[in-house]
Symmetry: C3
Subunit: 238 residues, 3 copies
């Protein structure tokens, strides 16, 4: 559950949560309209799930703290929504925390998920991806993510004043690829935030285009949660 | 030994230690007269114990640091008191630290332990108790500790501006209980300090009354150390 | 590799590295001329080693960060030097970091290693040595390192305003000793820095004299790296 909250929290501090019988959906865009999250949490992600349909507004920072009082992953966390009082009861063992919800109307409207036609896709191991972002952040503010259709390789590249960082993965290094041509520049500040909730030993699928937004998708909780991040490109300055 | 020091240090920075043939006793009250500690360390808590009777004054912060140079719990720490020079030799393996003692007369007089008649007692698992304090601290400055004699339950409750925290334990959840009526308000700042030295997997016994001090007792070192904290209640403001 | 970098970094931020077919050598002295490092890294310390002879200038802080992107000790780190561009390629799995080198001529000249005739030598376990430095640092700014030829013992001693720290090791406690007479005072600030790169479960050999510099030697990487620190004494102030 902490992972689900951290994932949305990588983009916004408050969000609307849609509840229906199959599970819950969080869609949010950051205040600068650069990063977007679309998170689908299946009812299977819960030990037990039973809900009226509806929409609630959540302070993610506060909820993250509350869920954090569970001492370990085995502690069961139970959520009970009281629609009349607009309160969410969070129960961790015998301790019950009553969280005031936010009026969804007071939270920024959810974004429409744009239907982008991105020509290239690569599936990379999160460890290499995170390592490249971490190294790139030592030398620059931006990183280019590139797919070379002819050479069949994925390249991440950051150029600093004196030092450079490169990650180059060919077909053999990738879990999976749809070769197409892509080249876009992204802000490392945003990528550093989006990187955090990606669990270890996960495959991150990236869809990329030419000066187009990137789509990063991965799974949490053994596939019970589908996460999609979208990140707008920066305009090349040179 | 670190636990014994941390326990007294939760209340005061300097204290008097009474030594006699059976063990040592620390009694101290904090400068605001809100929290009191009464710690009885049996000679059994030591590998070897041999002492002249007497009273010494200790800087707990300094002693805590010195004992902290032991790398792990297996490192034997040896204390030798030189009553003439008023120095305490602390030996950790081959390193010997000579700690200047404080004149006991320069340390605040020890409190008389009041003989309170507290009608209710409950024994709770430290994990639930600590979790309730941690969650309560997110929403408020105070917490009420309450025993409902008729319902036979223990209730800890903190009310914040928007969020609330409750811990409710009935007979089945408690190790042990003497049902009586109790309801008092306590400062979370103090409880957060008193909570720290309580070891994991320990049972904390609380004696409570109506707007009366609370007595918290627990054991360290497999029962060789008995700790009693007393905490004065806050006046209900509403 | 991180250990090799940290060792030189304990003395300087930038250094010259001499490369030849047998391995590499780092010799550097700190800006105040108090501490000196002489580090010999055998080619055996590397999985594979192949080099042109030469000298390069390295920013140790930056290189430390770069090598730090390896997630764990099993990640192979590969260095490739391009003498034409004066760049060092550091490859950690698929991520390649291109580090700009520094013109060696711009880095402080390497010190001549003085050929000191130090009469006493003791080999002590790093744990006792580090513990003594840590305890001494609680009470004073300086520590005396002393060898008593007649008593056949090594003594480290720090005297504070109220508290003292002593480490006394006789023949039985020492791995090895050449008895001679030695007594010198050293700055704890420097010793705290030099202590850090010493690995756990290592023996530190100290050569000492009368108001003379100390030589500390130890091994890294199962003997593939020889480290020698030299530390100038402080003048006794009393």
């Amino acid at each position: 559950m902490q992972e689900v909250i951290d994932t949305a929290h990588a983009v916004v501090d408050e969000c609307r949560v849609h509840l229906d019988t199959d599970g819950l959906v969080i869609r949010a865009v950051d205040p600068a309209n650069v990063a977007m999250v679309n998170e689908q949490v299946s009812a299977d992600a819960f030990e037990a799930y039973d809900t009226d349909c509806g929409e609630i507004g959540i302070n993610l920072e506060r909820l993250d703290e509350v869920v954090g009082i569970a001492d370990n992953d085995d502690d069961l966390v139970q959520f009970d929504l009281d629609p009349k009082t607009r309160k969410l009861d969070v129960q961790v063992n015998a301790v019950e925390y009553t969280l005031a919800l936010i009026d969804p109307a007071a939270i920024r409207a959810e974004p429409d998920i744009p239907d982008l036609d991105l020509p290239a896709a690569v599936s990379v191991d999160e460890a290499e991806f995170k390592r490249a972002i971490r190294a790139a952040d030592m030398v620059a503010d931006h990183i280019t993510l590139q797919v070379d259709e002819r050479e069949e390789c994925f390249i991440a590249n950051a150029e600093g004043d004196t030092d450079d960082v490169d990650l180059e993965l060919t077909g053999d290094d990738l879990e999976d690829a749809d070769w197409g041509s892509a080249y876009s520049l992204f802000s490392l500040d945003y990528l550093k935030d989006l990187r955090k909730p990606i669990p270890t030993d996960t495959v991150v699928r990236m869809r990329l285009g030419e000066e187009f937004p990137a789509k990063l998708t991965f799974e949490l909780a053994d596939g019970a949660v589908d996460v999609e991040f979208m990140l707008a490109p920066r305009i090349q300055s040179d």
